[in-house]
């Protein structure tokens, strides 16, 4: 998938506003999970889109792409325990 820079920026801002609105509505564990899912997607978009790592086969790209999803899962496991 190839997105333009403005499209990525708008998607990131919309997900941020969505997370904020969701947190205002609910403090349940599922709400935290969705917010952290947004974090994972945002991390992927920043690494592949803004940092231009898309198409690279290096370990570095995998590390950057996995960073936010992995951290989100760890934080969710800690927060929901």
């Amino acid at each position: 998938m190839v997105f333009s820079i403005p499209a990525i920026s708008i998607a990131l801002i919309l997900m941020t506003i969505g997370s904020f609105a969701l947190a205002d509505q609910s403090t349940a564990s599922w709400a935290s999970a969705i917010i952290l899912l947004f974090v994972a997607i945002k991390g992927y978009l920043i690494a592949d889109g803004f940092m231009e790592l898309r198409g690279h086969k290096r370990l570095l790209r995998y590390a950057m792409v996995v960073y936010c999803p992995l951290l989100s899962v760890i934080i969710w496991l800690i927060v929901s325990s």
Binding site: I5, P6, I8, S9, L12, I13, T16, I17, S19, F20, A23, T27, S32, I35, L36, F38, V39, K42, G43, I46, A47, G49, F50, M51, E52, L53, G55, H56, K57, R58, L60, A63, M64, Y67, C68, L71, S72, I74, I75, I78, V79, S81
Partner: protein, 201 residues
């Protein structure tokens, strides 16, 4: 012998593998070290939060989530402008690239002003590093990130100046890409920091 001008699937894979990383490799090492450090800090923050949940919820009620939201949007917009600036330089449009980087600096200034206002508000109300574990973690995490934003802004200003002097171009962009990647790292860190400090309750 007929030579195809269209790369095959295997050739495409090889081309992708050989594609050069944007920026300098040393900057990527720095980025990996920085995100690992922040990652450990986020895990530590979340772990302490589970032990002192009530204190953290009370702390979160004092800080300003709307300020956090404004800062997130400002940093994401700044990153978008910087990424566009890198593309403009690649397309040999240094004037537009410089304008994009300046727009990024303007957005980063919004972040700085809002963050300083937030610190001033908390300081005036008597909240500092020593109040409790939440505020110690809050000031350390956001303060450490704040310093990175200031350094990133310095890089952006230097790069803008160099762009205006035609110091970068399609064949000379490693410095610009390195600075841009550093800026995106700052954004990436805030993307995780914002929900765990301001949003998740």
């Amino acid at each position: 012998m007929v030579t195809s001008t269209h790369p095959t699937h295997i050739q495409k894979e090889t081309l992708a593998a050989d594609k050069l990383l944007p920026g300098d490799f040393a900057v990527w090492m720095l980025i990996l070290i920085e995100i690992s450090t922040f990652g450990l800090m986020f895990i530590g923050f979340s772990a302490v939060r589970t032990f002192e949940r009530d204190m953290f919820l009370a702390g979160q009620a004092v800080i300003h989530p709307l300020a956090g939201l404004i800062n997130t949007i400002a940093l994401l917009a700044a990153s978008g402008f910087v990424a566009q600036g890198v593309l403009d330089n690649r397309n040999n449009n240094q004037q537009r690239a410089a304008f994009m980087l300046l727009a990024g600096v303007a957005m980063a200034t919004v972040y700085i002003v809002v963050k300083l206002w937030e610190y001033w508000q908390l300081g005036s109300a008597g909240y500092d590093l020593n109040v409790n574990h939440f505020f110690t973690a809050y000031f350390l995490l956001t303060g450490f990130h704040f310093l990175h934003v200031v350094l990133g802004m310095v890089f952006l200003i230097i790069m803008t100046r160099k762009l205006l002097r035609r110091g970068y171009g399609p064949g000379n962009q490693i410095g610009l890409e390195s600075g841009a990647c550093y800026w995106h790292m700052i954004d990436l860190i805030w993307v995780v920091l914002f929900p765990i400090v301001y949003v998740i309750r």
